[in-house]
Each structure stands twice: as C-alpha cells, then as structure tokens.
Amino acid sequence: MAIDTGTELGQDSFADVAEQSRGDIAGRSPWALAWRRLRRNRVALAFLALFVLICVCCALAPVYAHDVAHTGPNDNHVGESITVDGKKVPIISVGGIKFVNGKTIFKAGGVPIGPQLWHAGGRFVLGADNNGRDIAVRLLYGGVNSLKIGIGSALICVFVAIVLSLLAAYYGGIVDFVITRIFDLTWAFPVLLLAIALGTALSINGFHHFGITVPASSLWIPTLVISYVYVPYVGRPLRGQLLSLREKEFVEASVSQGAGPLRVMFAELLPNVASTALVFFTLIIANNILTEAALSFLGAGVQPPNPSWGTLISDGQDRIATAPWLAIVPGIAIVLTVLALNVFGDGLRDALDPRAKVRIEH
C-alpha cells in the first residue's frame, strides 16, 4: 500500500481558488468556498449521509441488543432452541455418534441457524454463528469496534504525521534527517507484514514498557499498530509540501517579525496543508477500516470474543459451505462503509482543492 500526492499540490491552492471563483464570490474564505462546492456535489453528500447512517446504526447496537434481539454480542445460545413461526428450531443443529449393534451411526451437527429476518420476533435476524450468538448483534457491535479503530487510527496517524512533518520542515537539518529516516525505514517494511507482526506480537501479552500498560485484548493495539504503519504514507507527502512552503516569503516574513517556532508551524505552515490533511484523513479512515479487517482476519487485530467486521468474516470463513451468510454479511458492511468514505473523500478533495491529487493506494 502506498499513499501519494502530486508534488505541486498545495502551494498554489489559494491562487487557484481565487482564479476559479472569478470574483463573484470574492471575499469568502477558502473553506466557505469549499463548502459551497461540496454542497453542490449531491453524490458525495449522499454517501456522507450513508456513512453517518452506518455510524448511527452501530451506535445503537446496545439498544438493538437489549430491545430487539434480547441478547448480548458475546452471549452463547448453544443447546437452546427458538420458536420460528410457531415451530421450535434448535439454534445449532444437533448431531452425534451412536453405536448400534456394533455399527457406528453418525449424524453431522453444529450448523448454526440461518437468517430468520422477522420470523423469530427479532431474534437471529441475520442468523447465528458456531456459538449460537446473534449475528445481527455482533455485526453492530463489530461495527462499533471497526469504526473506533478506523477513525481512531486515522486521527492518530494524521496527527503524528502532521507533527513530524512540521518539525522536519521547520527545523530541517538533523531533525529532518532523523524523521525522514524513520519514515523511510517504516516505508521499507512490507506494510501488511509489519502490521501483522506487530499486531500478533502485541496481542500475546499486551504492551508493558516505558510506564505504559496496554492489555493484550485492548482495541488500542490494532489502533496504534495501524496508525503507526501508515504514518510515513501521510508524513512523506506532507513533509514535501511543507518543505517548499518553508521557503516562501510569508514564512520568512513571519519569522522576521519575531514569530516563534510554534507560531510559525501552527499558525503559518499548518493552515496551508490543512486541506490536504483533511482529505487524507477521510481517505485513510477507509483504508484503515480495510486494514483492521485484514489484521483481524489473520488474527492479529481485534481479539476474540470481541467482534469486529474482520473477525466476523474470519469466523464465517470456516462455515462458508453450510452458513455462507456469516462471512458475506460483514463484508457487505465493510464495502458500504469504505465506499461511502471513498466517494465522500473524492468529493471533499474536489471541493477543497480541485487540482489536488491526493490519493490512497492499496
């Protein structure tokens, strides 16, 4: 995976906006202009609405679990039955071995009940898993975890990348050298391999160094691992952009007026890359949700029994022939969420900076 930006991005954005907006909306801030453009992009807004809807649905997971499904995300219903349209059906099909007259009689079992939609009074709407757990409930709770990790790691990743690239661009010299080498080294790792390695190693015993303690099953582990591996993908292009800004007159002017490093970095340099960072942020959430799914699929992300969309697919993979919905449904949730973010991210980029070429590669 790689994230790239056009190198010419950013420094001319104000001029571009001014040129394109031709005076009729003169006097408005670039953000207001962007908002105007975004508002006209119905498709992008529709997908933003879809993303918000998905978030709201996931946020309502406890309500659904309590009032509709009447079960929690980790509650097993092994050995129980439900009433479907007046008939009693076991939640996990019953099989076993019997020895009759020296012959072995075998009946296969263990197949979970399929999607019931509304035939079982709101229970097992999307079916059950190996442990008789309600998939609809786990899908919503899993969404909460996937979104938490996706958004959380994007926030951390973009924040760290901004700080590091500001430091590198402002101080240059040895600071720049060290930061660039850190970027390069992380970049040189096969990204998924590094993420799986870190995720697996940390989920064995958690992290207990430097006075920081993170338990092994914590969501912080996948969040931090994912944000760490993508820092150079955001940081490198930002640094490139900031380096050229650093040479601009307005920065020199600010320095000569006695502005300190913090003021120059955050008041002068940062606003000029804010739009790039914002677009990156949107697209990297999408990217990180996919990465979380991949990590959890390989057992290096969210740790069972906690659900996430990736772990649900992983659980479902072993039941694909007898219970295909287990793997298919959470995948659809991922596709919808990531698609919504990608479409909205595209729209946002077009609105903020029509000439920008921020893009994320998988």
Partner: protein
C-alpha cells in the same frame, strides 16, 4: 552515477539490517515462544530443554543470537522452530506459486487498468465513464480476502454455479492447464483492487495531460485525435502508472499478497509468512521479512535508477 548507485546500495544494506533487527526484537521477547520448549515435546525433562537451548545457542546474548540467525539465513542453514524444515528451502518451494500469482495478476491489472482508465478518460462525463468510476470505487472498497472468500464460494466447484477449482496450487511443470485453471480466480481477485486504483489514477492523469500546453499545440497542428491520444497523451500519462506498477508488482513478488495466497491456499511465500507469524516461528519470519524488504527496496532503487537515467535533472551529483 557510480557514486549514486554505491550510495543507494549501502543504504539498501543498512535498511535490510535495520528491518531484520527490528523484526527480531519484535518477536524475541514473546513469552511462551521459547523454541527449546517447543522442540522438546510434551514429556521432556528440564535437562532435555537445557540441552536444546544450548544447542540452539539460546543461552547466549540476544545480539549474538541475532548475528547467528542472520548468518545461517545467508548460509541457507536456518531451520524453523515449528517444523524443523529449512527456511530458505521452504521459501524457495513457495516461490513458483507467488511468482505465478504476481505475474498473472500483474498482467491482468495492468491491462485492464490501462483499458478502463483510458476509456473513462476518453468518454469523460458520459455514462461509460460514470459506470467505470463507480465500479472502480467499489473495486477499491472491497477487502481482498472477502472478495476471495465470496468468489470461492460462488464460483468454485462446490457451488452449483461454480466451475473453478476450490483452492490450491498446481505447479506449471506438473500440468500447465491445471496451473492456469487454479490461478484464474486468485488472479482476478487480486487484480480487482489494482484495476480500480490504476483506472482512477490513469483517468485523472490523462485528463490533466490533455489540458497541457503541448497537447493543445499538437491538436492545433492538426494531428488526429487517435494519434494524439496514443502518441502524446497516453505515453506521458503512463509514466506514473509504470512507476506504481513497478512498486506494487515488487511487493506482490515479495509476498505482499498474503491475504490472496491464504484465502486460496496457494502455499506461496505470503501464506508462509502469515502462517509463521501466527505460529510465532521466528526463523521464517526473519527470512521472509528480509526477502520481502529486498524486493521492495530493490525495486524502489531500480525505479529511481530508471528515473535518473530518463531525467538527468534529478540525477544526484
């Protein structure tokens, strides 16, 4: 130029060293990962474990162990803690599958990516463009392992609609037909994402290039649209695509297609990597990391070299 090459090669060696050392540090401290205990078996005595520790050199300082491990990788003597098989031998055994996957999928994604991107750009704004844009977006929004699972479920022999083999790899030397037949699904599953991505990149690059001054000049000179597109626009727009392809292809050769290989049980280097990590088997993890990093750093270097050769301005002094 020579200085540039030498500097880059030294840099590569340093990166390989750093990457391998970091990987070593990540895994060496894990509790329960003591290889001696693992090898000793369930009825082992303390003496037994101590002997194995000594034989493997696990009683020595960790940096000595690291150096030993690196040495045995390059001497091709390193064996796995889990299976006692030679790690380099296992990587070599996985290469045909990984290379087959990478080459086939690479051809597919490059061809379709260029085709799709060009069509979208040429018909910009029209229905075909919009359709392609939507499909490309869906393509890049799908988790590749999920696509693989679903493709296996619907299109493999076990399903009424299916015609493809369920999974596995058949060496081309054993049966070229079966080799192809087994790889079609994995190729397309892996390629979908890249097609979507390359298509999008190419579309926007072509649209940018069309608006460049020299294209306008050429158009004004009366060159036909088709000639213009092929000779000027496409040729220049392909440069970023080729760069990207070099790096992506290198990554897949290096075992980055972990998920595709795992889902289709291709037994390539990527699957070996995933398996070794989940079993916390340090020797293969080290060897594969070095192998994969070598590809990534090496192809990066080649791409830079190519650029330096093409464009003297960026050639360093």
């Amino acid at each position: 130029m020579v200085v540039f090459v030498v500097r880059r090669i030294i840099g590569m060696v340093l990166v390989l060293f750093a990457v391998s050392f970091i990987t070593y540090v990540i895994f060496v401290q894990i509790p329960g990962g003591d290889p001696a205990q693992r090898i000793a078996g369930k009825t082992a005595t303390q003496q037994n474990i101590a002997d194995i520790r000594q034989k493997l050199g696990l009683d020595r300082p960790f940096y000595v162990q690291y150096a030993d491990m690196m040495k045995s990788i390059f001497e091709q003597k390193l064996v796995s803690y889990q299976s006692q098989l030679n790690v380099v031998g296992q990587i070599k055994a996985g290469l045909p599958a990984t290379f087959s996957l990478a080459i086939g999928a690479g051809i597919i994604w490059l061809t379709f990516g260029i085709l799709v991107g060009t069509i979208a750009a040429v018909t910009a704004g029209r229905l075909s463009d919009r359709l392609i844009t939507v499909l490309a977006l869906i393509g890049i929004s799908m988790p590749v392992f999920w696509l693989g699972i679903v493709a296996r479920y619907i299109l493999s022999e076990n399903h009424p609609l299916g015609i493809f083999p369920d999974s596995g790899y058949v060496p081309i030397t054993q049966s070229p037909v079966q080799w192809l037949y087994h790889l079609i699904l994995p190729w397309f599953v892996l390629a979908v994402l890249f097609i979507g991505f390359y298509g999008r990149v190419l579309r926007s690059t072509i649209l940018d290039t069309i608006n460049e001054d020299y294209v306008r000049t050429a158009r004004a000179k009366g060159i036909s649209y088709r000639q213009l597109l092929v000779r000027h626009v496409l040729r220049n727009s392909l440069i970023p695509i080729v760069t990207l392809f070099g790096l992506d292809f290198a990554a897949v050769l290096g075992g980055a297609a972990i998920l595709t290989e795992t889902v289709f049980n291709l037994q390539g280097v990527g699957q070996y990597a995933a398996m070794s990590i989940t079993t916390l088997d340090l020797p293969p993890i080290m060897a594969i990391t070095i192998y994969a990093t070598f590809f990534i750093v090496g192809f990066n270097f080649l791409v830079d070299l190519l650029y330096a050769w093409l464009d003297p301005r960026i050639r360093p002094a």
